[in-house]
């Protein structure tokens, strides 16, 4: 806390200043203080020195690699790899969705699944009796696949006679959001 008392700005504030993450008024205040306070400048220099070192050194290592053939090698490896089955593609898509907007999409998909169920029930009831019996058979409503992404599990059902697919994703109480 000594730094704060002596110069008015703590290290966390100075780091955020260097990140450009301070509110405008506070940023102006730090800039003004830097102009008149050599000790504050020294502290900022230290912070910048470590940042610059890391970037310069790692950039230098990357620049030392011969990249000319790398992209073509990657593409060749990609094209040699087998294509994903549709289930894996869906799982990847769910992973992408949940990685960034889990709460919104979980809720939306749960609502969509519920809406699909509401719409489907009357249709099934309206079917002729033989159809309703058939709908209770194991192959009429097929759980195609269970998918897990993180802590979320999804079940995909296919209803062949109505040519409908239902994706059921139960909502989690412990879903987390980046911000």
């Amino acid at each position: 806390m000594g730094d704060r008392q002596q110069h008015g700005f703590d290290d966390a504030t100075l780091e955020r200043y260097l990140d450009g993450a301070l509110p405008a008024a506070q940023e102006r205040a730090v800039t003004a203080a830097l102009d008149r306070d050599p000790e504050l400048r020294r502290r900022v220099d230290e912070m910048l020195a470590v940042r610059a070192l890391l970037k310069q050194e790692l950039d230098a290592v990357a620049a030392d690699v011969d990249w000319r053939a790398f992209a073509n090698q990657v593409v060749a490896k990609c094209e040699a790899a087998p294509a994903l089955p549709w289930g894996a593609r869906l799982q990847a898509w769910l992973g992408e969705v949940f990685a960034y907007r889990k709460p919104v999409w979980v809720s939306s998909l749960a609502v969509a699944a519920a809406a699909a169920a509401v719409l489907l029930v009357p249709r099934l009831i309206d079917q002729p009796p033989d159809m309703r019996v058939a709908d209770n058979s194991p192959d009429a409503q097929v759980e195609v696949q269970s998918l897990e992404t993180g802590s979320t599990m999804a079940m995909v059902y296919q209803l062949p006679k109505s040519r409908t697919t239902v994706i059921w994703i139960p909502e989690h109480a412990d879903s987390e959001e980046p911000d």
């Binding site: 806390m1 730094d3 990249w67 992209a71 990657v74 992973g95 993180g150 980046p178």
Partner: protein, 230 residues
């Protein structure tokens, strides 16, 4: 990164449609940056190159499912980060190749290249060769926790914003600031003797770290449980 993002999205759309040159351009655009992060994490050139290659293979495999909710590069860095964590876990020990060994001997000629910015003071690295400094930086990085190392590399080397860091690492923005602050302080502390930094600078104004350990562990587990974007 606005313009880059737009161009990335265009390239991603074209790559989704099977446009090979578009995918090649994406690889060329990010290969060095992804490598820098991987090398910082692994300290081994070959391992880092393997990780970058595997990351792009995964990108290619899953690009059809990429919705563009996030920037392409945040997705890519998340894949790279997870692959690096896998490699380190598989190693289960310190890397075999020291940080500086990947550097060509003739690069020591670059000793004395300015590292620190100037505000009218002497360059603090004048008394060290670049090679020595690299070795110490490698040790300092290795001394950080996995989470601190990763966030530091993504911020200082790749320049990711707080928001992007939160997305890549699946943590809150507050945790980003806290973790970044402590990672930087640890790095400064480790490099202080080699950069002419003044001893005794503490963690003044350190953001609260009460929930840090628990949240970091949770984020790490969560990252590992996402093979589809690894």
């Amino acid at each position: 990164m606005g313009e880059t993002e737009l161009a990335d999205r265009d390239l991603v759309d074209r790559a989704k449609a099977g446009d090979r040159p578009a995918f090649t351009l994406l690889v060329q655009r990010y290969q060095k940056r992804a490598f820098a992060v991987a090398y910082g994490m692994l300290h081994n050139r070959d391992d880092a190159l393997d990780v970058v290659q595997d990351a792009f293979v995964k990108v290619h495999k899953h690009i059809g499912a990429f919705q563009g909710n996030a920037s392409f590069y945040t997705w890519l860095y998340r894949i790279v980060a997870n692959l690096c964590i896998d490699v380190r876990r598989r190693r289960g020990r310190r890397p075999e190749v020291a940080f500086e060994e990947a550097i060509k001997p003739d690069e020591t000629a670059a000793a004395g290249v300015d590292v620190a910015p100037h505000h009218g003071e002497a360059n603090p690295v004048d008394n060290l060769t670049r090679r020595e400094l690299r070795r110490e930086m490698g040790k300092a990085l290795d001394g950080l926790s996995e989470n601190h190392r990763l966030i530091l590399l993504l911020r200082e080397v790749e320049g990711l914003s707080y928001e992007d860091l939160a997305r890549v690492l699946k943590i809150s923005k507050g945790t980003v600031m806290s973790r970044l602050f402590h990672a930087r302080k640890n790095m400064q502390k480790a490099l202080r003797p080699y950069l002419g930094l003044k001893p005794g600078a503490g963690l003044s104004g350190a953001p609260a770290e009460a929930d840090q350990g628990e949240e970091e562990e949770r984020a790490l587990r969560s990252a590992e449980a996402q093979p589809e974007i690894q």
